[in-house]
């Protein structure tokens, strides 16, 4: 089996006429963990949402492909079935739909008709993954994200990640709002997926998650594009010294989008 790959080239994305991403490019392959870091307002979350197909974001130019298939030709659900996963920063609450029903529907959507997961197998798997994430059993029967705390929502996103086993996962600030114990648990979950058939793009503005998940590549995003890339040592330097040295090096005064 060939390794999965997500390839993004010269991507431009606008929201309500305002351009946020300005020529973003990256390639994430199976077996690789990439971290995208950067201060607030530099377009990190826009990247995540646009790749998944969020209705508010408009791709104005550029290309993205998943295993060679044009991502922007696909509906949101087709992107997911092709193997893309986005752990969202602010997942929706859906009243009346239990977590278990939702996850089961999602698993079955990724399988052929007549090949649906058996209830017993599903329950066993859900129990196992919830144990890994130290989630209380009651979360299965609660309505999807309804009344969940910020941290519970994040764990629930990772639960879906573990249940669906996508080829490429984008984790959008999965670490924000998590205490150190929760962070360790979430990292353990993500690390359990590591392998040649799984690629991961972690979006964060703190280095601390990267203490538990070692990235192969670290990219710094400013003004809607990647301005610097390196290995794990780059993240460590950012943690120690902040972003100012990069701005200085590149002659950037204001790193946020909309400033040149």
């Amino acid at each position: 089996m060939t390794k999965p790959s997500l390839k993004v080239e010269d991507l431009h994305v606008s929201i309500e006429e305002k351009e946020i991403l300005k020529g973003f490019g990256i390639e994430v392959k199976g077996g690789e963990i990439h971290a995208i870091m950067g201060p607030n307002g530099t377009g990190k979350s826009t990247l995540a949402s646009a790749l998944m197909g969020h209705p508010k974001y408009e791709v104005t130019s550029g290309k993205a492909s998943l295993n060679g298939e044009d991502l922007f030709e696909m509906e949101v659900d087709e992107r997911a079935r092709a193997g893309l996963f986005l752990a969202m920063q602010y997942p929706s609450e859906v009243s009346g739909v239990t977590n278990a029903d939702f996850v089961r529907s999602a698993i079955n959507a990724n399988r052929d008709e007549g090949d649906e997961i058996s209830l017993m197998k599903f329950i066993r798997r859900m129990d196992e993954k919830m144990k890994t994430l130290e989630m209380d059993e009651s979360f299965q029967h609660r309505y999807l994200n309804e009344g969940f705390s910020g941290g519970e929502k994040k764990r629930n996103e990772i639960l879906q990640l573990l249940m669906l086993e996508p080829k490429i996962a984008i984790l959008d600030e999965i670490d924000s709002g998590l205490d150190i114990d929760a962070l360790k648990v979430v990292a353990k979950g993500i690390n359990s997926l590591k392998g040649d058939d799984f690629g991961c793009l972690i979006i964060t503005h703190y280095q601390r998650l990267l203490n538990y998940i070692t990235p192969d590549f670290v990219h710094v995003m400013m003004q809607g594009r990647i301005v610097k890339s390196g290995g794990p040592e780059l993240a460590e330097r950012l943690e120690a010294e902040g972003y100012d040295w990069i701005k200085e090096e590149l002659g950037i005064e204001d790193e946020t989008v909309g400033q040149e």
Partner: protein, 433 residues
């Protein structure tokens, strides 16, 4: 009444129909006097729906039904509604009882669960005491008068003092051909008794134009509890008037309604609870789905007379295609009903640009010392919810389905019987697919 009878039905027709059924004189008299009033009385006026041009006149009143009398003889439609282990069941097709089973232990305790035709013969005084008395009057309007004159099916349930009926009593009413169904359900729960009743209305065979005129009356005495569940599923061709009311004179008496309003034809549905007793409680939960071009009006009233009475209304509706539905919720607190509480919520989910839905919460309060609240919303599916569900690989269609089920769940999950809940979910599935 014979097959050839054209409307207007005459007083003689009504009297001889009553005689054929060996009804007591009081009922014959009520039928005849009600028929007299049909012409002069006006149609009801459900708020915001004009029904002046709807046809409520029956096409046909001869049942043409042969009762098999055994469970195997029931149609597949009915069998599909009653589950595996039938403990107590009354099945009627076009008002004629086709199957009846009552658990012997209930009969020993004095519980009556029988068709209305038998009840008026065998328990005439008891039926007369309640029939179209405090909950519904034959004189209210044209449709109640027509109902009293032409009643041709239904059920009587009587639960004696201190008897708790622990098995649900189920009735399945099928309507077939152009038969005009005038179904009457009368439930009397004496002091400190409790009972759960579930009814289904469904069209059998090839649907043709027909009318249904349905009235249910529930009387709840001191400390008694009645759970009333219904799934209405009459076909597109059937014009329905359905009025379910509870008169709750009992102190601390409770009535719970769980109504799945899944008719495909034009429907006027009223559901009213009179909380007369001190500390009485009324709770209405309804779900409705509109599709095609059907026009529907769902009005729920809870009227507080008793001190410390508590009324709760929760109505959820989904509108598809070019369907139009009005959801009226009326909480009325009369002067003297101090310390009462009335809450209501109406929510409508619109799935199509051409569908119309209105939610009208109305609070009418004539007493100072009360609490009341309402909430209403009419909206479309949240695009971010859709994005979220679809981002996990779920198709647009399936995502919509999940959201609709989720939207209706707060009501569906409250249905007191698992099999009926499943039935309703199946009907919803069919209607939203």
């Amino acid at each position: 009444m014979t097959a050839e009878t054209k409307f207007p039905v005459t007083q003689n027709d009504v009297a001889s129909f009553s005689k054929d059924r060996q009804e007591p004189q009081w009922l014959t008299d009520l039928r005849v006097s009600s028929l007299e009033k049909v012409e002069s009385l006006e149609l009801p006026k459900p708020d915001k729906t004009n029904i002046a041009k709807w046809n409520f006149t029956p096409h046909q009143l001869e049942a043409k039904v042969e009762a098999a009398g055994n469970i195997e003889g029931l149609s597949d439609t009915v069998k599909g509604l009653i589950g595996e282990n039938v403990q107590t069941l009354l099945a009627q097709n076009n008002g004629v009882t086709t199957f009846q089973k009552v658990d012997a232990s209930l009969t020993e305790k004095g519980v009556i669960f029988t068709d209305i035709q038998t009840a008026v013969k065998e328990h005439s005084d008891l039926v007369q005491k309640y029939f179209m008395q405090d909950a519904v009057s034959a004189n209210e309007h044209k449709l109640t008068a027509l109902h009293a004159a032409l009643m041709n099916g239904g059920t009587f349930i009587y639960v004696p003092k201190n008897v708790e009926v622990d098995v649900p009593l189920q009735a399945v009413y099928t309507q077939e051909g152009n038969f005009g169904l005038f179904n009457h359900v009368l439930i009397v729960a004496e002091a400190n008794s409790s009972v759960t009743y579930i009814e289904n209305y469904v069209t059998e065979g090839t649907p043709v134009e027909a009318v249904a005129n349905i009235i249910a009356e529930v009387y709840v005495a001191d400390g008694a509890t009645v759970n009333f569940g219904a799934v209405d599923n009459l076909s597109t061709e059937v014009t329905t008037y359905v009025n379910r009311r509870a008169h709750v004179p009992g102190r601390d008496a409770k009535v719970y309604w769980a109504l799945g309003q899944m008719n495909d034809g034009n429907t006027v549905s009223e559901n009213t609870t009179y909380l007369v007793g001190e500390g009485s409680y009324g709770d209405t939960k309804t779900v409705a789905i509109g599709r095609g071009k059907q026009v529907q009006n769902f009005t729920t009233n809870i009227i507080h007379f008793g001190k410390n009475s508590d009324g709760q209304i929760l109505k959820h509706g989904v509108m598809r295609d070019e369907a139009t539905s009005i959801f009226n919720g009326v909480t009325k607190i009369e002067h003297g009903a101090t310390k009462s509480n009335g809450e209501q919520t109406e929510r409508v989910l619109m799935l199509s640009e051409k569908a119309r839905g209105d939610a009208n919460p109305i609070l009418l309060i004539d007493e100072d010392d009360v609490t009341a609240g309402h909430a209403a919303s009419v909206g479309k599916i949240d695009p971010l919810q859709m994005f979220y569900l679809m981002s996990r690989g779920i198709s647009r269609h399936e995502a919509e389905r999940l959201i609709i089920h989720g939207f209706l769940a707060p009501v569906v999950n409250e249905l007191p019987i698992e099999s009926v809940k499943e039935q309703l979910i199946e009907v919803i599935e069919r209607k939203v697919d």
